[in-house]
């Protein structure tokens, strides 16, 4: 064990030399390794893989919460998919979910990038600012939602009181229950989807600290000599950011965009707690929940959930492919 071999060539040469002892030892090592990972593997199989396979079966079953005795009575029906795909608000849900996930991802990663750039250089009190910036990510989602609801309250929320008393709004804005609000800008009326924008802002506020941490860690490990050379050659700060720093951050930013999109797309808590899915904020996760709990319709819930997973996996596969291609191009 003392000279642990690293390259296959050396390993083969070593194995030929002391074959009998090496074999028993590697068998023992393999057994021990499998024993150590088996509890984790079992849990993942039990709580993730097996339920997912079961979801596929349920999506083709006529199954309601009230008659769960039928759970093992396997039938095959497409009525769940027909109901889910034929529903009147399908396209509105798809649109809402896409705007929510793309908007939330973009704002979250963008704010994280700006904050990381702003806090890159040391200054007195930076540790305190950094700790404060992490607060939205750390606090429980229920606390965060309750304080946002209070801040945005139409009667006594400080934002609305400030708007009506100081900025001269005609009436308070019900940020969380108004589907669209008409704003007059230079005499032109524009309808703004207030509730949807508010849940997007909440999502970005709650999650940008994660993007900030990732990007800051990458920024601080970048070599400084390239930036220095560009400065000597007369590149301005914006040019140095555009041509030196940004390309080196593209890997971590791409990863964050994928992760945030996956998590925002399936987010249930934020929207459910803030608006209950009302006022034009009914994203797909909330609708899966409503099929299950409000309508007791396990089959349709599973069918919609399955479609949701397919979208995520497609996004993941396309992204993976694209990422691999890009890496190949970079290496040639």
């Amino acid at each position: 064990m003392a000279q642990r071999t690293r390259t296959p060539e050396v390993a083969r040469a070593g194995a030929a030399h002391v074959r009998p002892r090496q074999t028993t030892q590697s068998v023992r090592e393999a057994r021990f390794g499998l024993a150590l990972v088996s509890p984790t593997l079992l849990i993942v199989l039990l709580v993730v893989v097996f339920p997912f396979l079961w979801t596929i079966i349920m999506a083709f079953q006529r199954l309601r919460l009230v008659d769960l005795q039928n759970v093992f009575h396997i039938t095959f029906t497409l009525s769940n998919f027909a109901r889910v795909l034929g529903s009147d608000d399908l396209w509105e849900m798809v649109r809402t979910t896409l705007i929510y996930s793309v908007g939330g991802t973009f704002l979250s990663v963008g704010a994280g990038l700006l904050t990381a750039l702003a806090l890159q250089r040391a200054f007195p009190g930076r540790w305190l600012i950094r700790a404060i910036v992490l607060v939205p990510y750390v606090i429980p989602v229920v606390s965060a939602v309750l304080v946002w609801k209070t801040l945005l309250n139409p009667q006594f929320g400080p934002l609305n009181v400030f708007g009506t008393e100081v900025l001269g709004w005609d009436k308070p804005i019900a940020f969380l229950s108004e589907r669209s609000h008409r704003f007059e800008i230079l005499g032109v009326g524009i309808d703004v989807p207030v509730a949807l924008l508010t849940v997007i802002a909440f999502e970005a506020w709650k999650t940008f600290p994660l993007a900030f941490l990732f990007i800051l860690a990458r920024l601080q490990s970048l070599p400084t000599d390239l930036d220095e050379a560009a400065r000597v050659d007369g590149a301005t700060p914006l040019q140095r950011f555009r041509y030196i720093t940004l390309p080196q951050l593209s890997g971590v930013i791409a990863l964050l965009v994928l992760l945030r999109f996956i998590w925002t797309f399936q987010n249930f808590n934020d929207v459910y707690l803030l608006t209950g899915g009302a006022a034009g904020t009914e994203v797909v996760a909330v609708q899966v929940y409503n099929y299950l709990i409000a309508r007791n319709d396990v089959g349709s819930s599973a069918a919609l959930g399955l479609l949701m997973s397919v979208v995520l996996m497609t996004a993941f596969a396309v992204y993976y492919r694209y990422g691999v291609l890009r890496q190949e191009r970079a290496s040639t």
Binding site: G33, L34, V44, L134, V142, S143, P158, T236, L273, L292
Partner: protein, 290 residues
């Protein structure tokens, strides 16, 4: 005349200060407002919502008293403290089980060679490919059938599965930075593999284990969806998050809700600030050795 370099530098340094101010205010104001409302009577808030600096004699702990005391005839109370035991049980149970499993898994992943190693390690991350709400459907049906739906251990198993991949990943990175020579010396001295894990690796990995525990605790303490799905009908098992969200539905006054939010956030914020130093130490220790 100003060069482009000087104009950009000046504009960017102003923009930098402005952005830091905006972000700091944006992150701090909700927290301060939560604290302010929790110690202020509701009448004061309604009378002048923009008065953000209340007079000292106005402040009191009435909202905290109301949110924690038991309801009795003639006085309102929401008994929030009684749910802390449930949240603690779930969070600590998840931490203990996740750490136990992930230490073993991370050790195997960094030190041992075994069949299907890469497939197994990659498959752990499959957890994040499947939306929580979709996993919830069959688990909801399964636990309903088994009669375990309202039970806290059911919740622990789910939190375990959803945190163990990241925990293995965090610990694996740290184990790589621990020199193998120590473990080899211990094995020469007659320790078996299990003793190497418990006597050499565990003590050395303490900073990483603390950081990982903090992460798992936060996830389990803050979780809402599965608590809502599984526990809604068994009130005595509610977590603090669920109980507080339920209070919002029965239109409890804002000041009482803010007092409850402070109590709910306090444990994670305290742990986070206490462990921030530990996190940094654990990371730099690994960097020196690597």
């Amino acid at each position: 005349m100003m060069t482009r370099e000087r104009i950009e530098t000046r504009v960017l340094s102003i923009a930098r200060v402005v952005w830091i101010a905006v972000v700091t205010v944006g992150c701090l104001v909700p927290l301060l407002y939560m604290l302010l409302l929790s110690v202020r009577p509701l009448q004061g808030v309604l009378a002048d919502p923009l008065d953000l600096i209340p007079s000292l004699e106005e402040l009191n702990l009435q909202s905290y008293r109301e949110v924690v005391r038991r309801p009795e005839p003639g006085q309102r109370g929401y008994d929030l403290l009684s749910y802390f035991a449930n949240s603690l049980f779930v969070a600590i149970g998840s931490v203990v089980l996740t750490i136990a499993l992930s230490v073993l898994g991370a050790y195997a992943a960094t030190r041992l060679r075994f069949p299907f190693k890469n497939v197994i390690n990659t498959s752990f991350f499959a957890v994040y490919m499947f939306p929580g709400i979709v996993m919830a459907i069959p688990l909801f049906v399964l636990f309903s059938r088994l009669g375990l739906r309202g039970e806290l251990p059911a919740l622990i198993i789910i939190y375990l599965a959803s945190t163990v991949p990241v925990a293995v990943y965090m610990l694996r990175n740290y184990f790589r930075s621990i020199p193998q020579s120590l473990e080899e010396a211990a094995m020469v001295d007659g320790c078996n593999r299990m003793q190497v894990v418990t006597k050499i690796v565990l003590p050395l990995a303490m900073p990483a284990i603390a950081a990982t525990s903090l992460y798992v605790f936060m996830i389990a303490w803050n979780e809402y969806l599965f608590a809502l799905l599984f526990l809604l009908e068994s009130r005595e098992n509610w977590t603090v998050s669920l109980a507080l969200a339920q209070l919002d539905d029965i239109s409890v006054s804002a000041t009482v809700l803010m007092a409850g939010s402070v109590l709910l956030s306090l444990p994670v914020i305290a742990l986070f600030f206490a462990a921030e130093r530990l996190l940094v130490e654990g990371l730099t220790a690994g960097a020196e050795k690597g």
